[in-house]
Symmetry: C2
Subunit: 259 residues, 2 copies
């Protein structure tokens, strides 16, 4: 049946056809935790990519871990739903939030015809940690992605959503500059490299620093940070030898498999 015919016969007001029972937005909240390593001198922290989950208390999937989320209302777009939920869950606004996809397989939710929209968010570590301890109404957990995918029984099709989100964040990490969401405004190339490697373990570049700094084709992604006198700004937070600080520009190069 064509759209027009359906719409014609359905008319404006009458509820002739069955409609869904709910349209939630579920959010995969990623964060990067840093943990100091014990070393004899200063060293880069080890990073872990973690995801926030909430333990369900009621049917269905009571006791299972699930992605945070909530139902969309008539007066908001799904992106607004997701932003609202993200704010409610973290208490913080302005995190990176991106649409992932729709999950609508029949039977995915035993409560009925429920079509879920997945988003993923990149949240700063302290936000989720605060949330984790402050909220006594819900049990909140922070798990590494590997743990969550391999060892946890997730509710609904949330394992599939998380797996898709993981693939997407890896892709975005290499194709765009979302790495900046996990970094302070000024950072060293060592930090950037760690962030990329944490999200994309396969990423390995022997000459990373040189390629970023000295190839024309990648100029414009990053720029050196200088103080008001034009002197390069350095940091020795993670190393004995001070390292140049960088920041992202607004430029994101266009990639192509053909050129």
């Amino acid at each position: 049946m064509s759209k027009e015919q359906e719409m014609d016969s359905r008319g404006n007001e009458g509820k002739k056809y069955r409609t869904p029972d709910g349209i939630p937005a579920d959010i995969v909240m990623f964060t990067l935790t840093r943990q100091e390593r014990k070393a004899s001198t200063k060293s880069l922290p080890r990073f872990d990519l973690k995801v926030m989950l909430i333990r369900r208390r009621s049917w269905p999937f009571a006791g299972a871990w699930a992605l945070p989320g909530g139902f969309s209302q008539e007066d908001e777009s799904l992106f607004e739903t997701a932003r609202r939920e993200l704010k409610e869950e973290t208490g913080v606004d302005g995190s990176h939030l991106e649409y992932l996809g729709v999950y609508s397989k029949p039977g995915r939710d035993p409560r009925g015809w429920i079509i879920s929209h997945a988003f993923f968010a990149l949240v700063e570590e302290w936000v989720l940690e605060k949330r984790q301890s402050a909220d006594d109404a819900q049990e909140v957990g922070l798990f590494t992605v590997k743990e969550a995918l391999e060892e946890l029984d997730l509710a609904f099709d949330h394992r599939e959503i998380l797996a898709d989100a993981y693939l997407r964040i890896q892709q975005q990490m290499l194709h765009t500059t979302i790495a900046k969401q996990f970094l302070p405004p000024h950072f060293t190339l060592g930090e950037l490299y760690q962030v990329i490697q944490t999200v994309v373990p396969d990423f390995a570049e022997l000459n990373f620093i040189r390629k970023i700094t000295s190839t024309r084709s990648r100029q414009g992604i990053l720029e050196e940070v200088r103080d008001e006198n034009g002197k390069p700004m350095l940091s020795n937070q993670y190393s004995q030898r001070p390292a140049q600080l960088y920041r992202f520009t607004d430029f994101t190069p266009q990639l192509s498999i053909y050129t």
Copy 2:
């Protein structure tokens, strides 16, 4: 309100909250039309990227052009809805079909709370041309994307959907091997270049043939077609001098802005 609380208070059966009035899938059907050029010798055809639209006959937006689509049913996923609609509209199965996104801005459809899911499909030219002439129940149009975006008044938010789909297909054309959807199984590098340029007008590679054929980093995207004796297969369909035929492999390289 958290998801759990909402779900708890909502219960299993009762329809306490308002739910959407319909969840359609709308499909941006792209095709590449070829038109021979009048030239004194054989020459490559000119290509145009076109999109199929349907003229609405009833409220709302009666008389306006709209994307084909239809409402999702409870027993199917949205991808299945889209595939079913694509089949119904074209009479053909197996075209490339890909999810684009969700369109849920309040007020986007005067009939009520209607959340649309956009897909895009890459369809062979003859399919849409057959459809165009065969169907007398609906007025069907094939427009270049430029025309549709700049000169037509599209129904609903379909201009926005089309604009998003156009951006996406350009991105996919450069990041993946969807160019093969617009090409016969065996094709010349001239044809491939034309296809890419038609979809991505900015694409310009002076040494396209050489880069594709003789750089190690891109080896594996394409392979030469050979006959059973191992002899390279050539085509002179579009040129006096026969050109080597190629086909896509299953390999798609991974891109990165950092390496």
